[in-house]
């Protein structure tokens, strides 16, 4: 029977739970709101690299779980994060994406906060005489912040477990790169795309779609045995992929990557991935690193933030080489990322309006080759946190 009827098309695939995903998870408004409360307000989020706030009083503004944040290095050298909302009447305090400021003065009524979050002045405070409104108890809301190997993470849940417990060792896959290398961000871009955030994150965990990318067909798939690949899943839904290799010179116009310029512990042809739950990905390709985050905007839109990292203090020639290597694959003109975004938007065209009842994640190659075990790990964690199995998330 070559084609299918409505009944067999709509019916759950004859697979175990966890080996397929209901299309509803990509479009349901209620689940989307729940994801914010149950996932994004509870997990550790990578927000920026220390090199973005290298000097005292450097700051960056970001947003996680729809909550605007200021990440700032205080005069004491410590990196802290605060909700970027004025204690007075809720205006945004710091408006710039980044900068250097010894204090933040809210534009609206000029309440001023220092880089440790204290409210240090408010004009004409005598007007609050007889009320509890005093600058001493009107500081910014501080957010749990930890810095690991130069990467700044925050958690909006004051009662969360420490970062290391959340990571469960998933970032160890990069071996010496993260502990040993003094990294620096040289590339940053944002891209709003028309897709559910999970559909984009899945493109990173899904190895089976390698066929879609010319560069992976040319440089990665023939470079090493499918059996040498190792996909691992961790507590909290993280995934790592090791054992990938790439012969970059196999793509017309590209050159071989040189051993002497690799990141510590990596060979030029090594590629390692760590997609962390829910949507933050660390990738190393021999000479260069990329770190992505995806933020939900609506069920049908998400914001990808992408960074490229090289070695701090390296020669201009090495930096230029690393930027070239970054841009070959990544960035808005890279050969890879634009295709992944296209894939996510292509799935949105059917999932977004309910035309696709299910997605199948049933490939079992024992964590090797193009196994779907990473996708199953992601969805198992999503299901656990949401209290809804992704295969049948609603009762109706």
């Amino acid at each position: 029977m070559p084609s299918r009827s409505a009944a067999t098309w709509e019916a759950p695939p004859p697979l175990p739970d966890g080996h397929y995903v209901s299309g509803r998870v990509y479009r349901d408004e209620r689940m989307f709101a729940e994801e914010r409360e149950r996932i994004f307000k509870k997990v550790w989020h990578f927000v920026c690299h220390e090199s973005e706030v290298a000097e005292a009083f450097d700051f960056r503004t970001v947003e996680r779980a729809d909550t605007p944040l200021i990440v700032v290095r205080g005069g004491d050298g410590r990196v802290r994060a605060f909700v970027n909302v004025c204690s007075h009447r809720g205006a945004r305090v710091a408006m710039e994406p980044g900068g250097n400021a010894r204090s933040f003065t809210c534009f609206y009524h000029h309440w001023t906060y220092d880089t440790e979050g204290a409210c240090v002045s408010m004009p004409r405070p005598e007007g609050y005489r007889g009320t509890p409104v005093r600058k001493e108890n009107m500081g910014l809301r501080e957010v749990r912040t930890e810095v690991k190997w130069g990467f700044v993470f925050v958690n909006l849940d004051d009662d969360c477990a420490p970062l290391d417990r959340f990571l469960d060792g998933a970032l160890d896959i990069f071996d010496r790169v993260l502990p040993d290398a003094d990294l620096e961000v040289f590339h940053y871009h944002r891209a709003e795309i028309d897709a559910n955030w999970k559909a984009y994150q899945e493109t990173i965990v899904d190895l089976y779609h390698e066929f879609m990318h010319v560069i992976l067909r040319d440089t990665q798939m023939p470079a090493a045995s499918m059996d040498d690949r190792e996909m691992r899943t961790y507590a909290n839904g993280h995934v790592t992929i090791a054992g990938l290799k790439a012969d970059y010179e196999k793509y017309e116009g590209w050159r071989r990557r040189d051993h002497s310029t690799c990141l510590p512990g990596l060979d030029p042809d090594d590629a390692r991935f760590a997609p962390l739950f829910p949507a933050q990905t660390f990738i190393a390709r021999g000479t260069v690193m990329r770190v992505d985050t995806v933020q939900p905007i609506t069920p049908h839109k998400c914001l990808i933030e992408s960074r490229g990292l090289g070695l701090k203090g390296e020669s201009p020639e090495d930096r230029a080489m690393r930027i070239d290597h970054h841009n070959e694959y990544w960035g808005p003109f890279g050969r890879n990322v634009t295709e992944d975004a296209f894939a996510a938007e292509g799935c949105e065209l059917s999932f977004g309006k309910g035309a696709a009842p299910h997605g199948i994640i049933a490939r079992d190659e024992d964590g090797r080759g193009q196994c779907d075990s990473g996708l199953r790990g992601f969805w198992a964690e999503w299901s656990r946190r949401m209290g809804r199995p992704a295969s049948h998330p609603t009762n109706d």
Binding site: F186, H187, E192, E252, A320, P332, F333, T338, A341
Partner: protein, 153 residues
């Protein structure tokens, strides 16, 4: 307005048209052997200038030649440029031209949206039979390019 200025203008407009129509050989033919192409973007987040693409003539030719093999964005990009200024140093150096551009993304259903906005900073060699691009810095003012593009700006 000199005839030299007209020729420089025509070169810049032709370069847009070649990329719009995917006439990549035509684009490369407008470039001198020493051509250098860059996309330069200032990041207020990093407070640094970034390079999003950097190629010599051969590198750009290889990149463009590979475009048809790739999964492509749907529809087309249409460039719209206006040459603002053309300057010469008077010592026979390349002419310098600054042009504002906008690039529209026309999707498969014909719906237009703005893809990118910025300026071309071009250096043009006028020593030969026809002017040739020796350098193009594409300075993007917009920084969110959605899914991005395999074809440069």
């Amino acid at each position: 307005m000199s005839s030299g200025d007209n020729a420089v203008r025509e070169l810049i407009y032709r370069s847009c048209r070649c990329l719009d129509t995917h006439d990549f050989d035509g684009y490369i033919a407008l470039c001198a052997p020493a051509f250098r192409y860059r996309i330069v973007v200032y990041s207020p987040e990093l407070r640094k200038e970034m390079i999003w693409l950097n190629h010599d003539r051969d590198g750009l030719a290889a990149l463009l030649a590979a475009v048809p093999r790739h999964l492509a964005r749907l529809g087309s990009l249409q460039r719209n440029a206006t040459v603002y200024a053309i300057e010469r140093d008077g010592n026979g150096g390349p002419a310098r031209a600054v042009s504002a551009f906008s690039v529209f993304d026309i999707d498969n259903e014909g719906r237009p949206s703005v893809f990118a906005v910025g300026h071309y900073h071009d250096a043009v060699d006028e020593g030969g039979a026809r002017p040739l691009l020796v350098a193009r810095d594409v300075r993007l003012a917009s920084r969110d390019l959605g899914i991005g593009s395999h074809v440069p700006i």
